[in-house]
């Protein structure tokens, strides 16, 4: 088989952080890349770094896209920080030239539906993606350290029972707790209770327990 000499050609519109790092990543993957930036200052900074790969121009203008060789591009990425600009880049690339893949960056998650309805099938909702990641990090931990008993290795922890916790539905008497661990209170609907052996745990219960430090990681694994 003859060696493949035709490189994939990608046009990236918008030389912000995303466009810049995408350009570098695609260059490393052996793409032919053109990074388009309309602001002259940003353009000069980018071209000092990336060289001929950068072109100054407004990717929303069909004539500029044509100059950039949009007709032979396998991929056009609209990566600016402005959704209206990204929409027009994609629509121009799709409707006027109609070749290759078009990917839109979406900054305002609300615009996702509109882009979809307008036939921009490949979208990256950058804000939404970051929000999701942060949201995952922010999920309340199941075990919260409240403090240490003075001069000891005994911790006071709160164990929050999520819906999928193995403790939900179990009675206190059925738990096989290590002998040096003690559940001292259960907070339910804002009220603290001294638990009896018959108590059945429910979602959103918060157990206050005394545990030796050595059990903390085991406990986290167990309730997660």
């Amino acid at each position: 088989m003859p060696e493949k000499t035709v490189k994939n050609y990608a046009i990236i519109v918008g030389g912000g952080k995303i466009g810049y790092f995408l350009a570098r990543s695609l260059i490393n993957r052996n793409y032919e890349v053109l990074l388009m930036e309309k602001d002259s200052r940003t353009y000069h900074q980018l071209s000092a770094d990336l060289g001929d790969v950068v072109m100054q121009g407004d990717g929303c203008e069909p004539t500029i896209l044509q100059m950039a060789g949009v007709e032979r591009a396998n991929l056009v990425v609209a990566a600016t920080g402005d959704d209206a600009d990204n929409l027009v880049v994609c629509q121009m690339a799709q409707h006027c030239f109609g070749r290759g893949r078009v990917i839109a960056r979406i900054n305002n998650p609300e615009n996702e539906t509109l882009f979809e309805k307008l036939g921009i099938s490949e979208r990256v909702n950058s804000t939404g993606a970051i929000l999701n990641l942060i949201g995952k990090k922010m999920q309340r931990p199941a075990v919260v350290l409240m403090g240490m008993l003075e001069s000891s290795d005994i911790e006071v922890v709160e164990i929050i029972l999520e819906e999928n916790s193995p403790l939900v539905g179990a009675a206190l008497r059925d738990l096989q707790l290590p002998h040096d661990t003690l559940i001292i209170s259960v907070l339910r609907s804002g009220k603290a209770m001294i638990p009896t052996a018959d108590l059945v745990f429910a979602v959103d219960d918060v157990l206050v327990a005394l545990i030796p430090t050595k059990w903390e990681s085991t406990l986290r694994e167990f309730v997660a």
Partner: protein
């Protein structure tokens, strides 16, 4: 008619004032509150501060009962997005995007969006002036008095 104008610049404010004077229910949206000063003290319509790309703002401005939306902000792409947003997501039948770039105006017109291009109109009139030594009478009226009915006349002049 219920009319929403997005962008209260020279064009949006003038159009808003005139359409309100002729008895329409006009809502004007602009991201800058100070822009509403252009409407003058006797403006009969209502004003909404906020981004014209923000669906909530447009809904507050009465998008669900709008007969016409004019997208007249300073950005071509924003106007294109607003016009498509109201047509596609809110089924407003009549939406016009004002553009400066003739190429984009033509392409989107081909795609079924109503566009009006300031550059095309101005160059068209100037071309007629260059050829005929004067502006066509009707366009002068339009320029001076802004009479809407003259738009049809201009079209008849076959300005490209």
């Amino acid at each position: 008619m219920n009319i929403i104008i997005v962008g209260c610049g020279r064009c949006g404010s003038r159009l808003g004032r005139r359409l309100a004077e002729s008895g329409n229910r006009v809502s004007v949206v602009d991201i800058t509150r100070a822009a509403f000063n252009r409407l003058g003290p006797n403006f009969q319509g209502s004003t909404y501060q906020g981004s014209g790309l923000d669906q909530e703002v447009l809904i507050r401005a009465g998008l669900e009962n709008a007969d016409i939306v004019f997208a007249l902000t300073g950005g071509d792409n924003r106007n294109l997005m607003i016009a498509q947003l109201v047509k596609i997501q809110f089924s407003v039948e009549r939406a016009v995007a004002r553009l400066h770039d003739p190429v984009r105006a033509e392409k989107y017109h081909e795609m079924g969006l109503e566009t009006i291009c300031t550059t095309t109109i101005t160059t068209g009139l100037l071309e007629l002036y260059a050829t005929n030594g004067s502006f066509p009478e009707t366009s002068c009226d339009l320029a001076i008095h802004g009479d809407h009915s003259m738009l049809q006349e201009i079209k008849k002049q076959e300005i490209k």
